[in-house]
Symmetry: C2
Subunit: 350 residues, 2 copies
């Protein structure tokens, strides 16, 4: 009986292994496995292999960056933003994280048959306003419509081209021993804003998404320091995922102090109620910066002088070489390994 | 009674006007209206306003082109190709149509939960093989997963960057009086291949999609003529849509001889059975070239010398200025206006 049950279970697991799961899109371990075991073996090339947020391209005398992202957030309107603003800011930020100045965007939409034209207009206006505010141009686009029930309202792909003039190397593989790790503000706002809207939850104090374009802050800090080694915006999977990814790729141990990580009280409260660690919750207007210790002070000051970076903080540093791990000094005084998420905590958050 | 019926109908139409219809994604009149009435008013800028297949960007001393397209074809595997090959060829061809040499691609997928990993691997291999054959590099990507029933197997966005070194101007606004119109081969193959696969139809003689990358042909003809004024690949909506679009934008009258347009017998047969005009059926490996008469011969020869262009033909010419119309000398000896399609003839063909 038990044997047969176990056999069935094994069979089920084996079958599940051969299907795409929601967790494959989580930004966590399964996402990484999907990319490394299925995409890279066929598509590998020196640029793609870096798996940074964007690709650094050397063409003739120019250094360009290219970045793509598709947005499938549910709901499409949430406190603090919408899928249009998210699509513009997200791809702008990915270009910034390569040290690029975002210049041009493409916007390609997949609309579900029956989607409201008024909602479409609202999304388009949001794309236009955000692009204008960020100083980027939407230069080309595409529109597809799929039958009702074969999509979900609207999905948006945005792909960007930026110009990289920074003299240093910025990459997820480039965190160096002794680097200071700066976080540009509070964590968890975007994920919990979407979550509360989706589930109709009411918390004490409304939670707004932090969705914002970071190109001004990035321009400012690249101006004051030529010792920035890595930047990353902690979206899907939160800062826990991103820190682990960089630690893995740079083969370092990171030491993070939990008490230095800013979290808004209402976000912390909502996370506690839902049993979610804010370290794993998506952000859409925050960044992690790895900078040589001698420049950490001026970079932190520069970030704090921008309205989007007032709550920036040093949250840790890069320790010695290792296989890639993130050690957290916890609030209660212990130490633990901060893992990547394996499953899907908050699906369709971006 | 009739009055009330008409009132109901009016109300229904009014309501329908405010929702996205499948036909908004057809590449026909409604697609054009959607873009001109909803996207352009917010997003307009000198580059986007041209509404060419790709955007021509002048950056520092370089002329680049950028093009984006999302592929939602159903079924994802069809005779002659699959969604992966289509995603690479389609965006390569759009860059070629701006006179660009395709260099870099991004690939962003939206996968439906439960999609078969084996099918994903097949699609990825097809992307990789096609990109390699075409000499372009996939430099960045994105993977999203949506819940079962909120997508349909896999949607792929590909966005490309190319380099434009051609001295002339190539644009849908640039067809000139007297230009010769060359079609690079048979029409309707892709649309009817997908259609027959989808509906499980059997025709006499199998129909294969023509999906192919045209970068070699385009490189060759740009080498032999500096008088190419417009190029376009007739995808959604077929050559009827594309000819109308160019006639509109260039403000010309086109004169087309139906008998010169190559159509495979099995495609013509399938179209007759289904009551579809092949002029409105999608192609994915064909192009229309508008060239000054003095260069038409050598451009035609060049196209015919390539395996993909053996059946190329001169199908008509650009007449005088007009509001933009396409006049067809029909097979039976009459003349008629070849209109854009208004509705959706073949949904999800690309």
């Amino acid at each position: 009986m038990i044997k047969s049950f176990l056999f069935d279970l094994k069979l089920k697991v084996k079958r599940m292994d051969k299907k795409i799961l929601l967790a494959h899109g989580s930004g966590g371990t399964l996402s990484q496995q999907l990319i490394e075991a299925h995409f890279l073996p066929s598509l590998h090339n020196p640029i793609l292999n870096l798996l940074d947020d964007g690709a650094l391209i050397n063409f003739e005398d120019l250094r360009l960056c290219m970045s793509t992202d598709t947005y499938v957030v549910d709901p499409i309107f949430f406190p603090g933003g919408d899928i249009g603003k998210l699509a513009v800011c997200g791809t702008i930020n990915d270009m910034c994280m390569c040290g690029g100045k975002p210049l041009y965007l493409s916007i390609a939409v997949i609309i579900e048959e029956g989607f409201s034209m008024a909602d479409l207009d609202r999304v388009i206006a949001s794309i236009a306003n955000t692009a204008k505010a960020a100083g980027v141009h939407v230069v080309t686009g595409d529109t597809k419509v799929v039958p009702h029930g074969k999509g979900d309202k609207i999905f948006i792909n945005s792909t960007g081209i930026g110009h990289v003039s920074y003299s240093g190397t910025i990459s997820g593989t480039n965190a160096r021993n002794g680097d200071i790790i700066i976080l540009s503000g509070t964590i968890g706002d975007h994920g919990m804003a979407v979550m509360s809207q989706r589930e109709g939850l009411r918390f004490s104090g409304e939670i707004f998404s932090d969705v914002a374009h970071l190109n001004e802050i990035v321009r400012d800090i690249l101006d004051v320091s030529s010792n920035i080694h890595c930047m990353r915006d902690p979206t899907r999977g939160g800062i826990a995922s991103v820190l682990n990814e960089i630690a893995d790729k740079s083969k370092k141990r990171f030491l993070i102090d939990e008490e230095t990580i800013p979290v808004r009280p209402q976000v912390r409260g909502a996370c506690e109620i839902l049993g979610i660690d804010p370290m794993y919750v998506a952000n859409e207007g925050k960044m992690l910066v790895f900078v040589a210790p001698e420049d950490a002070g001026k970079v932190l000051d520069k970030i704090r002088s921008h309205p989007l970076g007032k709550e920036a903080a040093i949250i840790g540093k890069v320790g010695e070489d290792s296989e890639g791990e993130v050690i957290l000094n916890t609030l209660i005084g212990g130490k633990r390994i901060l893992d990547r998420p394996t499953g899907e905590i908050l699906p369709r958050i971006c």
